[in-house]
Symmetry: C2
Subunit: 371 residues, 2 copies
Amino acid sequence: MAGGTRVLTVELGERSYPIYIGSGLIEETGKKFAEHGFPVKSPILLITDSAVEGLYAERVEISLRALGYTVSRAVVPSGESSKSLEMLDVLVEQALKAGLDRKSTVIALGGGVVGDLAGFVAASYMRGVRFVQIPTTILAHDSSVGGKVAVNHRLAKNIIGAFHQPEFVLYDLNTLASLPAREVKAGLSEVIKHGLIWNEDFVAWCDENAEKLLGLEPDALGYALYEGCKVKSTVVSRDERENDLRAILNLGHTIGHALEAVAGYGQLLHGEAIAIGMVGAARLAAKFGYSADIAETTERIFRKFGLPVRIPDDCATDEIMGAMLHDKKFAEGKMVFVVPTSIGSVEIRNDVPSAWVTEIVDGLREGKSQS
Amino acid sequence: MAGGTRVLTVELGERSYPIYIGSGLIEETGKKFAEHGFPVKSPILLITDSAVEGLYAERVEISLRALGYTVSRAVVPSGESSKSLEMLDVLVEQALKAGLDRKSTVIALGGGVVGDLAGFVAASYMRGVRFVQIPTTILAHDSSVGGKVAVNHRLAKNIIGAFHQPEFVLYDLNTLASLPAREVKAGLSEVIKHGLIWNEDFVAWCDENAEKLLGLEPDALGYALYEGCKVKSTVVSRDERENDLRAILNLGHTIGHALEAVAGYGQLLHGEAIAIGMVGAARLAAKFGYSADIAETTERIFRKFGLPVRIPDDCATDEIMGAMLHDKKFAEGKMVFVVPTSIGSVEIRNDVPSAWVTEIVDGLREGKSQS
């Protein structure tokens, strides 16, 4: 692992795009726009949120203006509630007033919320303009691959959206230094998830390098993000529109989503909820006759990264089961789970008895050892 | 031209789809769903407007239910104002409550407004579900080819949208019998437009068969819609994302859009405004040295179809010019026009002096003969 910028290409035919991962890339935004042949005449809209704006927006703009680009800034309140049709309306108005044309670009500067929202603006403004992502969280390594963009409806999350691939992703490791420690851990949970579904060696590497990763050591972090993006990219390349294979990316999400809903969004971070969910899925593997070592290793690694591996006491089992039964991932009344078959590989089971799930959820209480 | 159902395939690779044109097709909706392999388990949302609902909605639903499909009805107020993000929000709520899943279908039953709105619901609900169009106007033959769907923003028409191709289009000629005579003529204006840009023989055929078309004689109408859709389909197949060629479809639209804006939307029907615009474009052809016969033929045919060929007195020339200069079709300050080079062929000119346009707009006043 040498230093410097890593480049990963997400292979999607004519929609293929590179992810640049390295330190100091924000200062190269303008240069990257020029390299990719974006016309200087077409104005750019930079969408960011109130938490990120003060840290990085100006640096992105300065870099673009130095290369002759015109850029306007739109700032949305930080948090999930900005992913709304009302905010889409506001941002389209800003795009119109800034004079964005069909060759213009929308930039998402921020985490997953900004990426989803700005991506849907880019997907729908004039029926689709260029999109560039500058993620500022570890978790966003996940949403920066695959082109899934969306806003929420008050009745359902991510229900209004599109598949809209970015032209490129600029992952500046320096921006991750400003993350709170809890968000670092929760972001690494998704990184490890990518190893657990596809790459045993990478899981072993994460295990050995936990300290470096938690300390945001740039080269280790760059390598981990590269490998995490690579797994997702491989899966997405084979199934862009989420017909089958892409579902394996939901490891830990069945229980995880239910925990998020029951605990109240924001109580458990997404990466924390799916860490608990992955331990649950690993215990399910033992029920299907796979090695009990899977659950043991999964739990040990997440503990090493300071992630929760038990369900909070205030989340009742029947509420969690109820939330899961309402989750759209249950087709035709059966319970569907992504189940590990070893460290680094999974299968999708649609024959999971709900009694097993209840038992596992119950067994994931604080103070209880493995069931 | 035999009777019976005509089938035109819009060639778009894996997004190719058929347009069925014939009499009594609404009663075959369920059968067509089954033929296309749509799953009966996934609920359907039928979107229509208050003007069309009472005429045809029940017949569509009966046909679907007879084949075992579940269908819910959503009715929006008739008119352009329904193409809004607010209506998208309402329709997504109805889709959720009706239990639409990722294998569900959204049907647009109605004219262009319903097609654009329902198409954007289909494009964005769960990031895209199946879409079927059942057009009930002649004008909708145009929007049923090409997959352009959108809603309006209060600052700009069709600014929020997508390219989302239908699975198939069911064009029941019987539904056209309920159209007011003025809308029949305005719809035929777009049909003739397709001849003017691409097919001289078809223009001659329209000329000879004006009476049959205005009388809605089914076989003539079926043939005309087939040929009109075929031209558009040929153009769209070569340029799905509207990069270059597709712009020729805007013949008559530069002056036409300006007239619609200045006259106030709804005063001039779209087909009427572009008829005047096509006469203007044909006069521009003479300025570039092409035959004056083009303008003469264009005007004569539109008169034969009872369409306006002169600008209403209350639309001032400077207002029309102002509206044109604000139109997004003027790239980089130059005036861009689709100009006929003969009947049945056009070219795109981006070097049109505004003085010529002013002169032609002035010359298109009532009582003035050809300039």
